[in-house]
Chain length 396, copies 2
């Protein structure tokens, strides 16, 4: 409220003026324990806090949020939500409202924020490519079409992550390429392309330290691996046995590759089509064993200390969550939160995990030491859950 | 301001009321990019932000801040500063003032915050032991004397860290023991003691995943190692060559053990008395090599992505900082920030490092990719620098 207005208010309604201001004064609060829950059906998000485990706000008008994901500003005040319909929405967690929203493409799938927090990159299906926006204003800074070689067809872009050095790394589904984009000069991106990485990379991720980029392949077996510390070594194929195999089993849902569950040197990844979690020795990138689980794993996520790995599943086992002990490599707990467990998010130090149970319209909070359910919050068809501690992580 | 007061104000000074409220309305801001700088000589701290690299507030009256350290509340709004004089001060970063201050012992050295964010533990020299306080009120919850066996002498406590499972781990300098305290019931701590870990453990740390606790020994060579995933295996001695050796070299300053600089599987630690940084293979806890540096290393800290390790030094080389490339194991940069470089803190995604240069009354900010100095902030004899992203880390 501007001061002149205040003065007028004072003359007319002396106390009303004060009241208005009083109500406008939000108590200051930290943003380290905040997060958002995607409500996919209603195109809305909830703002929550993990200390008392309550809902702070509900914000609607975000469009199609199926498969939506989010990243956070470096001050952990704003969330950037990537919708399926090409919508990019900047949410003010403290004011509980949309700060800015644009529709930047026809069909998109996730994004990332640069190491310095100044750039938001979105990976698009239609038209294929990556667009880069200023984090503060959402002004377009760069449009990087994903046409491969002379092919003018814009490839679908998947597995977009950030990497140290203000770089973005992503995969071209149709072209079978991995690109590294150096954004030190946001208006003049420098692109490094790696061709023939394998057929139809469908998702990608980066190790928590930003050292390796790994793409999953839909069109053939194996994983495409790029050492971001030494990109000159090129992309190599690892884990040739990994994938759907020669006689593909029915795959109800391709597993997500957007987590890299690491404990000591062992990575835990969902096997494709099989009721197994694969262990990969990250020293030599060879299979280090398999762990039987109850269904086809979708998300395989390590508790922040690496002592546990939590797994959810494709139908018909999507009402369950299993917990693997990374020391014994055994399933130590099977939880049954309810119909359609879609996502899990750990508090940054790992004492709680929040689980979205879509068809029960609930988000449940579990104690990861006792497996006791600590709280349950109503939510409208909840899917992704994202906490502000992501603001401080590489590869988000 | 309470509403009745507001009403009175309105009657007497209609506009003043509004003005007061207006001025009381701070613009909301996120706390993810905040931090504090300890000004040891003046017993004050600065509150800073790393996005624009500016000072937001200066808070005094914190007592003796030599060797002071800090941890953060889980919402990243409050800093808990541990002073040398036994002072424990809770700082409100958003209001820029002291929220609460107690003097809980005669002489203390650091502390930690529990995984759930509810407990603050302080390690004391005089009288020796650990006190645990409620994070919200600083009310005393538990007083754990560090008397060993029948010995009623309270040992100095060092190397206090938090570990998953709401545990605290620390070392008893005089008694040569390591204790694990389970604080699931804050008023009834469960203590597990490990005796004969080595003479005079002088500092300790935990690996970033909270898996291993490592204590440095002042009274003999080697490191004491405790696997917190399997404490029943007990404490073992590793790196027997590590320490001052049989013919001790002059040690100008015992190196800090409160960081565990890890890159892939290699830990980088300061050699004692020698102009070297030691590499330790964390798979077998054996020495994996040595890197020559310009002086006796004090802090050896990994950039968050592990690609660089930054080192500062004891006098007379304490005007320099060297950067080791963890791929080539070579020193790739020598910076000369100025007299008495005391501490370094990385922004959580590693693009900046803040360096306190005590005798120049400056804190310098460097770009870790270009080594260019981005900013310089005046500070009164700055020492420790602590950013709020620590709120989300294990072992703080």
């Amino acid at each position: 409220m501007r001061v002149e207005h205040l003065l007028n208010y004072c003359r007319v309604y002396p106390c009303l003026a004060g009241m208005l201001l009083l109500s406008a004064c939000a108590t200051p609060r930290g943003t380290g324990d905040l997060g958002i829950i995607i409500e996919r059906a209603s195109g809305s998000v909830q703002v929550i806090e993990t200390s008392q485990r309550t809902r702070l706000a509900r914000i609607s008008g975000l469009g199609d949020l199926s498969h939506a994901s989010a990243v956070y500003s470096r001050d952990a005040r704003f969330a950037y939500v990537f919708g399926r319909d090409g919508g990019l929405t900047k949410i003010d967690l403290l004011r509980g409202r949309v700060a800015k929203r644009i529709v930047q493409a026809g069909n998109s799938i996730g994004g990332a924020i640069s190491q310095d927090g100044r750039l938001i990159a979105v990976s698009n299906y239609e038209p294929g490519g990556v667009k880069v926006f200023a984090a503060d204003t959402l002004a377009l800074l760069a449009d990087i079409p994903a046409g491969s070689g002379d092919d003018q067809r814009r490839s679908k872009v998947v597995g977009l992550v950030d990497a140290p050095g203000n770089r973005f790394v992503y995969s071209l589904y149709d072209a079978g390429e991995i690109w590294i984009v150096d954004m030190r000069n946001p208006r003049a991106p420098r692109v490094q392309k790696f061709a023939d990485v394998g057929r139809q990379p469908y998702d990608g991720t980066v190790t928590p330290d930003g050292h390796y980029y790994i793409a999953g392949l839909f069109g053939e077996d194996g994983l495409a691996l790029l050492d971001l510390w030494q990109p000159s070594l090129g992309v190599r194929r690892v884990l040739d046995g990994y994938g759907r195999g020669r006689q593909p089993l029915p795959v109800f849902k391709m597993p997500h590759m957007d987590y890299w569950a690491l404990s000591n040197d062992t990575a835990f990844v969902p096997a494709v089509g099989r009721h197994e979690v694969l262990m990969i020795d990250q020293k030599n990138w060879k299979e280090a064993g398999r762990i039987d689980v109850v269904g086809q794993a979708v998300f395989v996520i390590a508790r922040p200390d690496g002592r546990q790995v939590w797994v959810n599943f494709a139908p018909p086992e999507n009402d369950k969550v299993q917990v693997i002990d990374t020391l014994s490599h055994k399933v130590i707990q099977t939880l049954k939160p309810g119909k359609a467990v879609l996502h899990m998010e750990f508090t940054p130090r790992g004492e709680q995990v929040w689980i979205s149970v879509r068809d029960e319209n609930r988000v449940d909070v579990y104690d990861t030491a006792t497996f006791e359910r600590l709280a349950s919050l109503p939510a409208d068809k909840p899917s992704g859950i994202f906490f502000t501690a992501r603001a401080h992580r590489i590869g988000q």
